[in-house]
Subunit: 193 residues, 2 copies
């Protein structure tokens, strides 16, 4: 009945968020583009990012036990992509952005990003090829112009996402539905069954 | 210079992928909508999903040590939202979808989803309010009609994403740029500096 086929299991979910991870590495701010990132716990607020074990940025995170996660807007796509294909070992990325600091001395944040959070390391989970860095958010920084009713407005923040292996960045499309609302119709349907 | 303001740190990154986690719970297929999910390791292929500790689905994952992750298309938004607001403790979700199985007896997958992966539990990381379930992908299932050149085509698979706290689902928008390519321009610029 179902015409399912198998594809190789080494695949990516889609679409993935694109973020820049900031850290102080060898006394200099450095930024790594990452897509294996998400919120993982509500209270305390923990975000987790999986970083290749040999990544330069990971050295700085381990040394200082703090880092930042910055969510870029679509107009930054060229710089964001650059930070994913060029290592801080070979290039100085500290001049790419307007850097600012909040509460943590060694968590450089990107002024151009509509949202930047500074984190202290909550734990690092050792996985076979990555380090899953769990960060507890110490403070979150944005600007009034990205808010509507005090909340980040996705249309103003204008994020982009990544799909693989077609290797594409995409903007947000149409607003499809109200989350935690649209499904209530089915709840009422089943109650009347 | 920068007009940054602080917002409360209990926030979500954006936009988040929306998936359905499938498991056998009390001998019945059940599906939970989750957004705190991502790829976390390349080889072996590990995806991780953070699930509230009291979620019904988690009981089935722990019992059978297998589960599925299903990436829905936008036309399923109503059912997907329903699976996020109604617990399997109170409603039978086993009739919502065409269910199929692959290699694992207790990892029910959703026929309507363009991509479904079946996973065995690699590890469960105990976080303060969630269980981070790490799944090793045993097999990935799709259909020819969602592929272009043998790869999942995002325009055909038509996924959607979630933003919070504005609580919106969004479709994919325009293709913004080539990933791992568009940033090379800056590489050449800096080399010529």
């Amino acid at each position: 009945m179902l015409s399912k086929i198998e594809i190789p299991p080494r695949i990516s979910p889609y679409p993935m968020q694109v973020v820049l991870v900031g850290a102080t590495v060898n006394d200099k701010p450095n930024f790594l583009t990452a897509a294996w990132m998400n919120r993982l716990n509500g209270s305390p607020p923990l975000w987790g990012v999986a970083i290749g074990k040999k990544q330069y940025t990971l050295e700085g995170i381990k040394e200082h036990q703090v880092f930042s996660i910055n969510i870029p807007s679509a107009d930054l796509v060229e710089k964001v992509d650059y930070c994913g294909i060029v290592s801080g070992r070979n290039a100085d990325k500290s001049k790419l952005f307007n850097i600012f600091y909040g509460k943590l001395t060694n968590a450089p944040m990107i002024g151009e990003c509509p949202l930047a959070v500074e984190c202290k390391v909550f734990d690092i989970v050792d996985l076979p090829s990555t380090a899953l860095v769990l960060g507890e958010i110490v403070a979150a920084h944005t600007e009034e112009r990205f808010l509507t009713d005090g909340k980040i407005d996705p249309l103003k923040a204008n994020p982009f996402v990544l799909t693989m292996p077609d290797n594409s960045y995409w903007t947000l499309g149409d607003r499809l539905a109200d989350a935690f609302q649209v499904g209530k119709r089915l709840k009422h349907d089943s109650m009347s069954d």
